[in-house]
Symmetry: C2
Subunit: 393 residues, 2 copies
Amino acid sequence: MKSEEEKVAIVGIGHSKFGKRMDVSINELGWEAIRPALQDAGITQKDVDFYSVGNFGYWSEEILPAVTIGEYAGLSCGSLKTEAACASGSASLKIAMDSILSGNGKIAMAIGIEKMYNSPNGTIIELIGRAGNYFWEFENFGMTFPGYYALYASRYLHDYNYREEDLCESAVKAHHYGALNPYAQFQKETTIEECMKSKYVSRPLKLMDSSPITDGAAAVILARGDVARKLTDTPIYIDGQGYATGTAYIGRRDGYTGLEASRRASEMALKKAGLEGIGNNFDLFEVHDCFTIAEVMAYEDVGLARRGEGIKLLKEHQTYRDGKFPVNLDGGLKSKGHPIGATGISQAVEITKQLRGEAEKGRQAEIRKGRALQHNVGGTGHYAYVTIYSRGD
Amino acid sequence: MKSEEEKVAIVGIGHSKFGKRMDVSINELGWEAIRPALQDAGITQKDVDFYSVGNFGYWSEEILPAVTIGEYAGLSCGSLKTEAACASGSASLKIAMDSILSGNGKIAMAIGIEKMYNSPNGTIIELIGRAGNYFWEFENFGMTFPGYYALYASRYLHDYNYREEDLCESAVKAHHYGALNPYAQFQKETTIEECMKSKYVSRPLKLMDSSPITDGAAAVILARGDVARKLTDTPIYIDGQGYATGTAYIGRRDGYTGLEASRRASEMALKKAGLEGIGNNFDLFEVHDCFTIAEVMAYEDVGLARRGEGIKLLKEHQTYRDGKFPVNLDGGLKSKGHPIGATGISQAVEITKQLRGEAEKGRQAEIRKGRALQHNVGGTGHYAYVTIYSRGD
């Protein structure tokens, strides 16, 4: 049994509106998340011992974003920027968490931010594509991220005998909840028909199978357990985090219907949290649905479904709010948006809201166990981070 | 008194040859540091619980360097990349250190790497310049890093009545020790005359006042105290680290003869290590001499000399090996080279070699107290990290 001094909890959350945000600089966008997080925790900038900024940002005008975002927000404690591709937010969370558990501070802030619309049109797809594997796959085959996930989708649909319509179930669910989330980029429902009619991006994946280009920021404030208890009546503890690094080469993957790094990270997280498996231990999940196929694979990699049976959960509405495993009740990357460096922190904000019982009407999960799981992938399985949260009831 | 389980120590070090390294890819360059570090620690890749990669890398072809470097080196545990400008190596060290002290692992690796010659000629100076402050100073005034430090040098020489020749004393010392370091980019001595005759880069700073463009990598393996004791007879403990974030705007600085962030980071590091000041507590120092003026300011910011008296230490040879405060016995950034993300880890490698008594002939300090201090600046005082090491005698 850990003492409160050996624990870490979220005591404040902030989230900007996601979308095309040409109205703000990257520093102003950061402040949209940092200010509410400070207010929520009831602290000031001087109380923060360290902050980390998750950001990919190869298209940014400011190339030391941690410094300029911090300065704009009035933070002058130690800081750094971290990048773990689309899992940069989870890496930022790890750094803030460890900076407390190490004894190096009592309060830390994990920020995630991305401003993707700044990049000249077209360039951004190329820059993201280079994150696959530049030397071999990008340069020689012109691979981009939709192309990578299309390979996985093709294999999955073939091996398990599903159709493109079935993948669209993920988009329909995402937009259903995105419509209820005021911070989401797309606040409107969609249908299987609309999804099927959308243009192919990389066959079999269509526009409506794909998460969008997004600007956005999110922030969480972490505190040592004993400090958290003084700051809030509803601390949300981080019970354990798992992580793994996968091969960058698509040709070296162990299969094309799941991500090996996700499986290893999930196992590590469950073990650290002292849990034997998914079972009935969780009230909700946040998974990395950068494409519809990614949500399906996540179900299977995390352990919500057996191999090849992920789509069934969707079709049976078992991952809707009132199903067995509620997943992405905020609209997910697909509908809420996917500002690369912000996504991992946005997931943490959503889980905190849900476990506190503060989610918007129509999308609040029933909280029985007081526990949730976050799954965040970088690249196409290059990085995986899985984090387990609880109310500590 | 901390138990061994509450401590962290360096148990393995590796360092590539610094210089223009067109003969290797970034992954191969990383392996040049990682392989000797693993061998030195007597462990294999599977023993590593987490690794962090300090890298700036806006000019890299591989934009997920932590993944590709790790894969090439056979590492598949969790990982991330971090950036704190020229202090990225120290940020990488913090992450690896905290990942152990947090209880999240027993062995971690901190890597620092940069491949700067990959950038098309000219581009790199512009890219580094953007790190000053893009929005205002770079875009409007065309500020580059030599320009920033030239402002500091002008003020310092004026306020304290020194001459350009006096700054050259720093370059002469750097090259004296660089000539004795087989890993250094420049292994040759220089003179005040040669320094004075070199071209102006940004008046009053000349080519010989400036650190070079460098490719290089360095790695350290950290272990929890009890594990370290089993792996080596000469663990080098990290006793404390301080850090601060400064304003990005040159116009908002509190003065132009020192860096406020360095002073705050030094105070924090000394406090964490349980020391009252510099006194006679240290056998050697590594300071961030990206320009000659930066070395002088570092002396004063860290506390080796009073304001305006740093150059006196140089002129009196008090920061040579046999002086009162031996500084940069590896040649420093000026002569050893300054591969941005690698520098902080290179400093840690040097301190470990020195405290073990393993430095090359002619540049080994006399170790009496068994303690050393590392000072690493990012940007022009945007970031500062100060780390204190000891043999734990």
